[in-house]
């Protein structure tokens, strides 16, 4: 190709200056959503911890055990959440292969989070089995209270203990999609 041809292309190219949309409202919304998502988890933890003074103010030792269970649950979830999230971030200007690797890291995070949920909730359920009968002991309708509460706890246990299984099932589809993207990138010579 000749220099004149290239110069003509370059002049056509650099002469184009189309309008860009105003982005500020959208950007501010995105930033708000991002912050909300980050804050939501720890807000829930904070709400759970805020109940502690009331719990520890009670006279019964059995109720205090609920407080310790809440502390242990929040600590385990928070430490696990922070530990799993570290190092998964995407550099703002990484190349497309980095982006694909990031998506795969996200899948790994979901898998680890599912395991975290399985074992932390299993611990919660075990604690509940020990603590709850002591709390309702002496109530007039203790049997009914235990039947209702244990039913719900069983449902919670089944859902959370099976989390790694259903997360893996859902992620298989995403992994196939990532593989398709990788093949497409190869076709596009990226």
């Amino acid at each position: 190709m000749t220099d004149a041809e290239w110069n003509s292309w370059q002049s056509t190219w650099s002469g184009a200056t189309g309008p860009l949309p105003d982005v500020r409202a959208r950007a501010q919304k995105e930033v708000r959503l991002h912050r909300l998502a980050n804050v939501a988890f720890f807000l829930l933890v904070a709400i759970a911890l805020a109940t502690l003074p009331t719990v520890f103010a009670a006279a019964e030792n059995a109720v205090h055990m609920i407080g310790w269970t809440i502390i242990a649950f929040c600590a385990a979830m928070s430490i696990g959440y922070v530990w799993i999230q570290r190092g998964i971030g995407l550099r703002s200007a990484g190349n497309p292969r980095d982006a694909l690797a990031f998506l795969e890291r996200r899948l790994r995070v979901e898998r680890l989070t599912a395991h975290l949920v399985r074992w932390v909730y299993a611990g919660l359920c075990v604690a509940f089995v020990f603590v709850f009968p002591r709390i309702v002991a002496g109530h007039g309708s203790a049997g009914l209270e235990m039947a209702i509460s244990f039913s719900w706890m069983f449902v919670l246990f089944v859902v959370t203990f099976s989390a790694p299984w259903w997360v893996a099932r859902r992620n298989r589809r995403y992994q196939e999609e990532i593989d398709r993207w990788r093949r497409w990138m190869d076709e596009q010579r990226l």
Binding site: S92, Q188, L190
Partner: protein
């Protein structure tokens, strides 16, 4: 460097890169929004390790590629819409320039992405080393891709002129 500085100094270059991924229309506007949001969010992390131009063009290309991935999963779009004339006074000359550029961009958009991104950056006047840093390949690979892209683009233009 503020977001307004980026828009003032690199807005036209960003627009051209965006236009190399999408024909005029809502999809291009969406991509432009995505790119600008990404630049806006990334600016606080800019530490001057590269030139501001490389930084924003890199973001634009990465967003453009992500957009193209999503697009590839959908059915192919219909014929490209024509540019609508800008009704503002004194805009005729710019509209004519943009229409010439749109014809050129239509040919550019027929190239594989790997060639298109290299050619678009070369048209911005970036040296091979800088393009290599943005795209994540070696400068030698940039030269090879650029040569193939120029050849493919020339053939596409010739085919249209012959038709």
């Amino acid at each position: 460097m503020t977001f307004d500085d980026v828009l003032r100094e690199h807005g036209p270059a960003l627009w051209r890169v965006i236009a190399s991924y999408e024909p005029p229309g809502a999809e291009r506007d969406d991509l432009a929004q995505d790119v600008l949001v990404a630049v806006w969010q990334a600016l606080p992390r800019f530490r001057g390790e590269s030139s501001p131009r490389s930084f924003v063009l890199r973001i634009a290309h990465n967003r453009g590629l992500s957009h193209a991935w999503r697009r590839a999963k959908r059915p192919p779009p219909g014929p490209e819409p024509l540019e609508v004339a800008d009704p503002r006074p004194g805009a005729d000359e710019q509209v004519a320039t943009n229409q010439r550029a749109e014809r050129f961009l239509r040919h550019l958009r027929t190239l594989p992405l790997g060639q298109r991104e290299v050619l678009a950056l070369a048209l911005e006047g970036l040296p091979h080393a800088e393009i290599a840093a943005i795209v994540g390949i070696t400068p030698e690979n940039v030269a090879v891709r650029l040569g193939r892209a120029r050849e493919a683009l020339r053939r596409s233009v010739e085919r249209e002129e012959a038709a």
